[in-house]
Symmetry: C2
Subunit: 230 residues, 2 copies
DNA sequence: GGCATTATGAAACGCCTGTTTATAAACACT
DNA sequence: AGTGTTTATAAACAGGCGTTTCATAATGCC
C-alpha cells in the first residue's frame, strides 16, 4: 500500500473568520434550499454562493442534513422574532378574516420578513424530510390550532372539535392551494397575486367562502358532534 | 488509440418478445414514476422492476423523458376509456356535490381505475416537468371549466366569470389539499380517508362549505361582476 | 444455408452527488 | 522560537445518474 502524495493548495492568502464563514454558509444555504428544496440544493452550489470550500460545509455542520437543520431553525427563529400576529379583534368572524389574510400573506408574499421559511415549508409539504415533524409541532400546529379555535368560535358551539378541525383543514387548503399548485392555477388563467393589496382581495374571497360555508354547516347541523340523526 | 476489448455476455438464453418488454417497461415506469415522480424515479430501477436491461429504455423510448411521456399518455388514455363522469342530475347544487366527490375520489382513491394518473398529476403539480402544460390542457382544464360552470349555475347569475373561476380554484384547493399536504394534515391528527365511504363523507363536508360559501358570496354581492357599489 | 436485420446484455462513459483525506496556513500559548 | 490546535483548501473517494458503445444472440428473408 503506497501512500499517495497530495498537496493541499499553494500559497494562497486565506481570510480567516470562522463566524463570518458560518454565517455566509447559512445565508447561502437558506437561499439555495428555499429555491430548490433540500434534495434539489447541492452543497457544491451552496459553497460556491458562499465563496467557501466544499469541505467547509461538513467541517462546520457535519453534513448536508446538519446544515439544513440549522437553516430551518434560523429561519424559524427570525420569523418568531419579528412576528405580526393575525390581528384578532373581539369578533370571531373578524378573527377568521385576519387568520386567512395572515396565512395567505405568509404563503404568497415573497419579500416579507420571512423570505426563506415560507419557501422551505412549501418544499417540506411537497417532499418531506426528517425535519417536517419538528416543523409541524414547532410552527404549523400552533397556527392550525389557533385557526381551529377561531372556527369553533365562529360556529358558536354549533360544531364539535373534529368538525372544526376538518373545516380548518379545508380553509388551509384554500389558502395554500394558490402557492402549492401555482403552476397549474396560473396555467388555468388565474394570475396568483404577489402584492399586498391583491392578496388582501384574495383573502377576502377565501374568508367569505369560509364564513358562508361555516354558516351553512351550522345551519344544516352537519358539523354538530352529538347530532341525534342517522 | 487502442480499441478496448469487451465481450457482451456469455451464452445466456434470451427471451425475445419486444411487445411484452415494451409493455413491462411502461408498466414498471408507471409504478415507479407514480411513486417518486419524474426526477425521483431512476431508469435503472425501472429496468430492474421490469426485469430488463437498462439500455432497453433508450432502445425503446429514446430517453427517460420519452418513456415518461408515453407513460403519461398511456395513463391518460386508460382513464379516458373507463371514465365515470361526475354524475350531474338537473340540480346545480347536486352537480357541485357530484363534482367534489369525483375530484376527491380521483385524488384519494388509490385502487381506482387510475392508480397512476392521479399520482403522476400530483407530482406534476409539485414539481412540474415539460409535460405539465400538455396535462393541463388535456385533462385538467376541461374538468376545471366544468366545475366553474357548475359554480356559476349554483350562483344562478349572481357571479361573473372571474368570480366563478376564483371560487372554483378555492374548491379545488379544498379537495387536493388532503392529498397534496397529506404528510402535514396527518401529522396534525386527521386521518386522510382512503375508502369509498369515508371519502364520500369528506366530500360532503367540502361540498357543504362550498355551497354555503357560494350562497354567502351571492348574498353579500361580493362575487357580482358589474356591481355598482364602491 | 447464408446473410442482413433486429434485440439484448454487460460494461464503459461522463457527469453529478455528499463526504473524506491529506496538506498546509493561521493562530494561541509557552 | 517552538509547539499544538483550529481553520482552510484541493484532491480523492465512493456511488448514483442517464446515456452510449459494442459484441452477440435471435429472427426474418432470400
Amino acid at each position: 500500500m503506497e501512500k499517495r502524495r497530495r498537496d493541499g493548495g499553494g500559497a494562497v492568502l486565506r481570510e480567516r473568520d470562522p463566524e463570518a464563514r458560518r454565517e455566509r454558509l447559512l445565508e447561502a444555504a437558506g437561499g439555495v434550499f428555499a429555491e430548490t428544496g433540500y434534495a434539489g440544493g447541492s452543497v457544491r452550489e451552496i459553497a460556491r454562493v458562499a465563496r467557501v470550500n466544499v469541505a467547509s460545509v461538513n467541517y462546520y455542520f457535519g453534513s448536508k442534513e446538519g446544515l439544513y437543520r440549522e437553516v430551518l431553525l434560523r429561519a424559524h427563529r427570525q420569523v418568531m422574532e419579528a412576528e405580526a400576529e393575525p390581528e384578532g379583534g373581539g369578533d370571531a368572524r373578524e378573527a377568521l378574516r385576519g387568520w386567512v389574510g395572515y396565512c395567505l400573506r405568509f404563503v404568497l408574499l415573497r419579500r416579507a420578513t420571512h423570505p426563506v421559511l415560507g419557501r422551505l415549508m412549501a418544499h417540506e409539504m411537497r417532499q418531506p424530510t426528517v425535519a417536517l415533524s419538528e416543523l409541524v409541532s414547532l410552527v404549523i400546529r400552533p397556527k392550525f390550532e389557533q385557526l381551529a379555535a377561531v372556527v369553533a368560535a365562529v360556529a358558536g358551539g354549533g360544531m364539535g372539535r373534529e368538525a372544526s378541525e376538518l373545516a380548518a383543514h379545508q380553509i388551509v387548503g384554500m389558502c395554500v392551494h394558490f402557492d402549492h399548485s401555482r403552476e397549474v392555477v396560473e396555467r388555468l388563467g388565474y394570475r396568483v397575486p404577489s402584492g399586498e393589496a391583491e392578496i388582501a382581495a384574495l383573502a377576502e374571497s377565501v374568508a367569505e367562502m369560509a364564513l358562508g360555508g361555516l354558516a351553512g354547516m351550522v345551519r344544516s347541523g352537519k358539523g354538530l358532534e352529538k347530532r341525534i340523526s342517522k
